[in-house]
Symmetry: C2
Subunit: 319 residues, 2 copies
């Protein structure tokens, strides 16, 4: 039997356990973790989302230690949706919405917060040498931010407002900045404002955004109050991009969606290729979003840290 | 003073009053009512929507009895949004979403349920002789049904499901049928089913629509339960068209909008020209949707009739 390793498991409570090295299926490789990133979704899963039980983790960069020659020894990131390849969504070119998908560390597939874990070869993307591990681990959430541009056409002349400048919102803000739109981000805290200014993005208080003034509002709040704010800010016939999952079942003023003929557009997982290009070309700053590093063995403390209000990215390291 | 006439007024309660003939502003004409149509929005206004108080009525066909020569004596229908002509929406070619709009019988503008009423000339459309009054009065709601096709592209190969086959839903169904899509309408009652079959549209029970199967769902229910049904029926990356205003503030599963990357698209007032063409060419059947006629003087009874569950269109006639 191969040597054991540790894994970050949630079963009613979060624990770090020892487990035998996983045995890859025919289409899978084994990956040794180099960095893992803790996401709000991980916290949602521990609060009961999808009745999750198992190994957590879907943001990672690692090294292939078992698999076919073309992947062996390569540094990789991985898409999180393990798709069936045969349903209408897969055939329609939308494998991220596969009807039968499993999802790394989220749905029926062991996650990446482990010394060694499995993943389908088809999900792998090689990481260019110029992208350090601490940046490559942001590929998955950065791809999700890029998905905003996959799902809607932001025109350079548009007036765009982003609300919810947390971990994902700050990545989304950097991606949106690159489109040249007339852009502002609603902030509540000075630290957010300073960070945004550093990137050349205009931080504004909520009161600075006139009602009905935005062509597009990007809602990264995941709250009913945030969605209500988005409805106030968007112009008639404008668009609201929904980027975060919501707690419970929010009340939503759908009547205004009708009478103002608003488009609501959900977006989820995004294009890894685009995210890697943006990282390689240094067009987004992810390094400054790192809040702390913890070894896998201290994952429980790492999750506690990541759960603090306003906390940015907490990374897990081997060992 | 010109002769008095009656008007259907809501001020805490619905009454038919005598009032002096209105005096048109410079850009307005006077119109003598030939038919008025009672809409669900009229009932919503009486339940407190927009804190309405005044003369009701926005669906009408009438004859111009005072105004410039080019309109005098003509039979007309009229758009309901009285727009400012100078705001960004008006300049952007979207006067129905005018920032400063008044709305006939809905917002700061006396309605059409009166022997004689005023309307801006710019809102008028002449009615072709081949369209009888009982059909022409449907121009406004039929235009609203056409707005579905203004706001979204229904592709002929799409699988489309409509829910909420009431007054507006039955008009929307007929417009959607003309696109050639694979179309079914969810019904609860045999009378709806028979009517739809008559038009060559497939009525189905809710249970016949598989979850995640529809490319487009058209929600004419205006209820939280209807919206939840729409979310169940639509496929990932599909669209939900919202056509009816909702009671109160519905709970809405926005998380599914995000994770399934769904488009929600609101639509409101529509193109009168298209509606008149469909009526003139006999491509939609509105005559069979008429439930009853009442003279203006019996408007209170007419409104009671229109409020019965399942009631279709109740028309008001002069006198």
């Amino acid at each position: 039997m191969a040597s054991a390793g540790c894994a970050v498991v949630f079963e009613n409570e979060l624990r770090v356990i020892e487990r035998p090295r996983p045995i890859p299926a025919e289409d899978e490789v084994l990956i040794r973790l180099r960095r893992g990133g803790i996401c709000n979704t991980d916290h949602e899963l521990m609060r009961g989302y999808k009745h999750f039980s198992g190994t957590l983790g879907h943001e990672f960069v690692g090294e292939v230690i078992e698999g076919p020659a073309e992947w062996l020894g390569r540094r990789v990131v991985g898409e999180i949706n393990i798709s069936c390849g045969i349903c209408d969504m897969c055939h329609g070119g939308i494998p991220t919405q596969c009807r039968e998908r499993r999802v790394l560390g989220i749905l029926n597939y062991d996650g990446a917060f482990a010394d060694v874990f499995r993943l389908s070869q088809r999900n792998l993307w090689p990481v260019p040498d110029s992208i350090p591990d601490d940046c490559a681990v942001f590929t998955e959430p950065l791809a999700a931010a890029c998905q905003i541009l996959e799902m809607a056409h932001l025109r350079p002349a548009d007036r765009v407002v982003l609300i919810g400048a947390g971990k994902l919102g700050l990545l989304a803000a950097q991606v949106v900045r690159l489109t040249g739109v007339d852009f502002s981000v609603v902030v509540r805290h000075d630290t957010q404002a300073a960070r945004l200014k550093n990137w050349g993005i205009q931080p504004v208080p909520r009161s600075a955004v006139s009602d009905g003034s935005a062509d597009v509002v990007i809602d990264c709040t995941g709250t009913a109050g945030g969605f209500a704010d988005a409805l106030d800010m968007v112009r008639p016939r404008g668009s609201i991009m929904l980027k975060s999952t919501y707690h419970d079942l929010p009340q939503a003023d759908l009547t205004r969606v009708v009478t103002q003929e608003i488009h609501l557009i959900g977006s989820r997982c995004g294009p890894f290729g685009a995210a890697l290009r943006l990282l390689e070309q240094g067009l987004v700053d992810v390094a400054s979003l790192i809040e702390a590093h913890y070894p896998l063995s201290e994952a429980v403390r790492a999750f506690e840290h990541a759960a603090r209000p306003g906390a940015l990215k907490v990374l897990l390291t081997p060992g």
